[in-house]
Symmetry: C2
Amino acid sequence: MIDSADDPNTDNPGHGDVLPPTNQHVKQYAAVRNAHETELIEDYVELIGDLLKHQGEARSTDIATRMGVSQATVAKMMCRLKSLDLVASKPYRSLFLTQAGEAMAEESSKRHAIVLQFLRALGVSDQTARIDAEGMEHHVSQETLDIMQRFACQLTPGHQREG
Amino acid sequence: MIDSADDPNTDNPGHGDVLPPTNQHVKQYAAVRNAHETELIEDYVELIGDLLKHQGEARSTDIATRMGVSQATVAKMMCRLKSLDLVASKPYRSLFLTQAGEAMAEESSKRHAIVLQFLRALGVSDQTARIDAEGMEHHVSQETLDIMQRFACQLTPGHQREG
DNA sequence: CAAACATTTCAGCCTTGGCTAACTTTAAGG
DNA sequence: CCTTAAAGTTAGCCAAGGCTGAAATGTTTG
Ligand SMILES: [Mn+2]
Ligand SMILES: [Mn+2]
Ligand SMILES: [Mn+2]
Ligand SMILES: [Mn+2]
């Protein structure tokens, strides 16, 4: 155990300089693993919400097409989402969100929009911003999200709509 | 198939408004899946690099401790990293990076540092910035990274001035 | 030097999230 | 209606990334 025990937190630039204290480091990785557990679920639920909203219906074919995965993969995931009480459906019929599912869709969608708008406000191209936002959204804390929102609002004289 | 047909790319805010065109949407999810394939590898390799740099040695115990994961998990991952020719070691001895591993560690570390500095420059607290950066780093394109770096450079020298 | 302790490895086990292939059900067209 | 195409389901495969528990190896110390 050559493990520091000093407190390298006071003024250093952080990453290229010294290792963060072990317990902090552990928290970082744990947070990422944690996010990984929910992010696919959020993406599926968000997509179902979007399909319902914009096409009136969420069929698993459309989900498979948009996600770029097989229908079997979607079916399995829907099974999981049902068991989590986020999605409901009758066999061979289209999909609906439960109350909890709708709440998750709403929240995910808002967060996604903020991250996307932030990136665009930063000057990132639309195409890239969309790709980056799809991944980043799941790793942005509330604190950071608030800052992003303020930032995007300032630099975007366009529209805004948050509840 | 009520799909596509329209081209919602011209001026709309994007997410809360209409669905992105299918092929764009597919690309987003594909990019995320892609990132997921490499991100754990990058984190392990980066950590090994950091341990080598700051403690002279990378033992799998230390990796397990810092990652917050069992030694068996580390062992399996090291096996994989060896098969990818990123890590080398003799049985029961400590770990080293191959040339390719070092390159990956270097690059990952740089990118991680930029994202972290960017978040701090935005005004995110150190603790939160570290956590968010650990996840975000893997979903930041080169284009976005460049912008982040410029942004952080501009705002960093003066430290933060919050209101 | 041998015992005790720490570290590494190995052999299972589990869940997630992909896939294909075969089957069933539904929806559409003639 | 009946046929057929599309959509949904199911079974079984795989790799990744966690875990435990036990065996093997290194290291320290009495
Ligand atoms: Mn999303
Ligand atoms: Mn996403
Ligand atoms: Mn990193
Ligand atoms: Mn990371």
